[in-house]
Symmetry: C2
Subunit: 399 residues, 2 copies
């Protein structure tokens, strides 16, 4: 671990068991943790302008290196003053490394693969993976592209992220132990190359997080955590598969999280279901990104305090005609304070843009409420009670 | 013409030639004219919530009787307190009669037909048209639906419009004189049935506008204007084809507009291009609805002061990489005050929802600026100079 407050400082304000409430200071302002990170995959959070994302209370968004590398390309974004300038976002920005998307091409599926629910794909059918990096064809125009630790760092430098993520291979669930071990070692060598490039040419204020791999194997996770913690990184992220289901994920996280250095800011990659996020917070993880809240909105699904349906209220499938209740009673979002289920359900079934937008606003408000109240509960040393109440079906603001 | 301020009153504040600045008072507040009306076709203005439409300065939106009749149906909307309650819109609301959409099914094309640019369709291929009304199949689920003057009025009563429009046959451009004459007479008989139903069962505060038909034929337009003006309506609208091109439209309007009673609030149906709208204002027309500004947004096209491209700036087709200018310099909309063409063009090409939303906000701001400044120019007795400046390429706020 480095300790360079010019790049990033992480202060822990309160602890409650392993859970903590902290502040990550970046050159684009503070990030109060624990926090969920909305995805601005291709330079916008679905349907929202940056000022609206800030108005929801978010201090950090995540840009997607792979997608922005493919289009519009790093030069165009750099010319606009980085992703901050390009999309006019003046708060903190983290970018992923592109590894996840590239290896999703390689390993067949995408998120499902990593989460164990997909089928085995065709290894390397579209991606040529070598020690040097990964060669693939642009899904946009077929042109050959190459991404390596150095290229990923270079792109993230052009994007001007406050926090860059090291380029890793995101090992899928179906990979065997031997593949995972070799892949994790390569990820470590890539980390060293990322650090070398970043030290020499990275933007001065940019922090770099290393990614802990090792799949579901305790010894590999331990080796990886030790390797990354010993490297000159400003924080750590947990990547790769966490198992085939929620139980295995909980076990892998419970085993992995304590291996990370206590003082580090810790990012759990790609996880953002309500229960999983609370589980991560309980284990001392600080930041969480996930496509689910915005993706659900596109499909007419709202987050709601219903553990029995995995916190999902499907406004397209239920019987909502004449239902005058808001999506969630007490929710401060524009959808809930202004509209009822009857109307939003009608709009969503009709594929109206306004429905997607209202549901994005609701789902992001819900996630922000979840972490804001988790933070307060940690400060009041009652996080376990808060978590139990939410898992029991309470709304975050009532838990 | 009726004169019942309980239903509607129209006051003319200023005149400049035939152009006038007025206020239509409705039970949901005033409408300053001339004004453009955003379409809330299926219960929402594309991508916007009602409070955002109001924040843009709009005092009136248009709901679509045909679409809302097909889904979700008038009962469901009535149960929500009408369209005002259903979509939570507390300003004025006008609803069309459904005739345009039904006869678009019948006559083959849709708007193109009426505007003369389409091909001749199959008369009655999907719609059975009788003196009684029109029978057609729901495009949604194939169920047989019937709409007549009485049904249209009933639906508009359920929608709770402040201004309802009489059920008419919207005669297409390709109809011959004989067909247009017979159709216009039927529209008149239908108007009488609308008035009879409305007098007996219409909501007390609801105004009713009659529609002047007659195609491109001066004598038919004159007969129609006289018939409608003599009926117990609260205002008049001009419907039907206005010819094959802009020149013919201008001629038909110049011939038709003076036939309408001076004191009446006058609505030009389906017209909202910048030059056409200014032409309509010059002829004393007051309100204008059109799908174009919101539809253009979906296709990446922004309104801009460029007469040579019909006030269109295509952000998907032009060369906008690195263009740091706002869509239109000086425009007060969120897209122009926060973003540049480079970014919006990138988002729009990528079919990002945020692009549609930003362009809807821009295009509706542009139309609102156009009519607000037209109103001021009329008040200052300089409408001709204003119109000439806009037609010459000035932005509304500079003209």
């Amino acid at each position: 671990m480095r300790d360079d407050p010019q790049r990033l400082s992480f202060t822990i304000d309160a602890r409650d068991g392993a859970a903590r409430a902290g502040v990550i200071a970046t050159s684009h302002g503070p990030i109060e943790t624990p926090t969920f990170i909305p995805l601005a995959t291709k330079g916008s959070v679905r349907g929202l302008d940056g000022d609206e994302v800030a108005a929801l209370g978010y201090q950090l968004i995540l840009g997607n290196t792979y997608h922005l590398f493919v289009s519009p390309g790093p030069e165009r974004i750099a010319a606009a003053g980085g992703l901050h300038g390009f999309m006019n976002w003046d708060r903190a920005l983290i970018t992923d490394s592109g590894g996840f998307q590239v290896f999703s091409l390689a390993h067949g599926g995408v998120a499902n693969e990593v989460k164990g629910s997909g089928r085995s794909g065709d290894h390397g059918s579209e991606v040529e993976l070598t020690e040097e990096g990964a060669r693939f064809r642009s899904p946009r125009d077929g042109r050959e592209l190459f991404i390596s630790p150095e290229v990923s760092m270079q792109v993230q430098a052009a994007l001007g992220a406050d926090v860059a993520l090291a380029f890793d291979e995101c090992t899928p669930f179906h990979a065997d132990r031997d593949y995972t071990a070799r892949s994790t070692e390569r990820t470590h060598r890539w980390l060293d190359r990322c650090i070398a490039w970043h030290e020499a040419e990275g933007p001065p204020g940019q922090a770099l997080f290393g990614i802990v791999q090792g799949g579901t194997h305790e010894d590999l996770r331990r080796e990886s955590a030790e390797y990354v913690a010993a490297a000159a990184v400003d924080g750590l992220a947990i990547g790769g598969t966490l198992g085939r289901d929620k139980e295995e994920m909980a076990a892998v996280l419970a085993m992995t999280a304590p291996l990370l250095p206590e003082a580090a800011a810790k990012h759990l990659l790609g996880i953002g279901e309500v229960d999983d996020l609370l589980g991560g917070i309980a284990l001392g993880l600080d930041v969480f990104d996930c496509a689910v809240p915005t993706r659900l909105a596109r499909h007419g699904v709202a987050l709601a305090p219903s553990p029995e349906t995995r916190w999902r209220l499907d406004l397209r499938k239920g019987r909502w005609v004449g239902d005058r209740r808001p999506i969630v009673e007490g929710c401060p979002c524009p959808a809930c304070t202004r509209h009822d289920r009857d109307y939003i359900s009608y709009l969503s079934r009709g594929e109206e843009l306004t429905a997607v937008r209202l549901l994005v606003l609701h789902n992001l408000t819900y996630m922000r409420e979840l972490t804001t109240h988790a933070r307060r509960a940690i400060g009041a040393a009652r996080f376990d009670a808060y978590r139990a109440a939410v898992l029991g079906g309470a709304a975050p603001w009532d838990a």
